[in-house]
Amino acid sequence: MNGYSEYMLCFMLFCIGLYCVLRKRNIIKIIIGLGIIEYAVNLFFVLVGYRSHGRAPILAKDQTILNMVDPLPQALVLTSIVIGLAVTALIVAIAIRIYEKYGTFDITKIRRLRG
């Protein structure tokens, strides 16, 4: 387990989010679950690029830095955070409209569609 505990903790976070999405009946709870999944995936990406005793990937004057952490996952996660924000905003908008139409956040009561 040594050296992998961070990864496993991150996966546990992912599973909590997954459980929330699959199991909860409240729309806001489902949105929260999606958010947690998003955090876990972002976190995993950054964990993967970390280097022990590394430095942040920003150059400083008059210094040559050799042990930088992997900058590529950070760039990717920046994109991924934005995607998470966009999805959250859209789903919240849909949820507000659903509340207006049905008067509830309970998905078992929002079942006008069959199947």
Binding site: A56, I58, K61, L78, A89, V92, A93, I96, E100
Partner: protein, 149 residues
């Protein structure tokens, strides 16, 4: 909140908002302009700028904030930001490639005006993000407002 004439929050909040909102805006602009030198960049700066307007809206009510930046103009600014970013990407064709960093002289490292297209892209993204997130928020709040009446 009982008094219907009073829009927004209490006097304390309003006073503090008046003092801080400009600073928040300035900080956002600083982060955007120094995106290629220090942590931050167009996206984070854009969100901070959007947050400063949202701050106004939360404290003073939506009319005041929308007077400063109406929803229609936010929408236009957003489209402009998007077109500007795409334009920078297309301008790369003058060097022969889509999205080429077409400045031949990248400038001195650590200077504010360096790194070719990167600061320009940051500004475009900042416009887009700031205006876009403000538009989203205004839409959600306005929707809720009309819902309650």
């Amino acid at each position: 909140m009982k008094n219907k004439k009073e829009v927004g929050m209490t006097v304390i909040v309003k006073t503090i908002t008046r003092l801080t909102v400009g600073l928040i805006l300035l900080y956002g602009i600083y982060i955007v302009l120094h995106g290629h030198l220090s942590p931050g960049g167009g996206f984070a700066g854009g969100v901070i700028i959007a947050l400063s307007f949202i701050h106004l809206m939360l404290a003073f009510g939506r009319e005041v904030a929308l007077k400063k930046l109406s929803q229609a103009s936010a929408s236009i600014l957003e489209s402009l930001g998007a077109i500007m970013f795409l334009g920078i990407a297309i301008l790369g064709f003058i060097g022969g490639y889509f999205f080429l960093n077409f400045f031949l002289h990248k400038g001195k490292p650590f200077a504010l005006f360096s790194a070719g297209i990167i600061p320009l892209c940051n500004i475009a993204i900042c416009l887009k993000v700031g205006a876009g997130l403000f538009a989203i928020f205004a839409a959600l709040v306005l929707f809720k407002g009309s819902d309650e009446k």
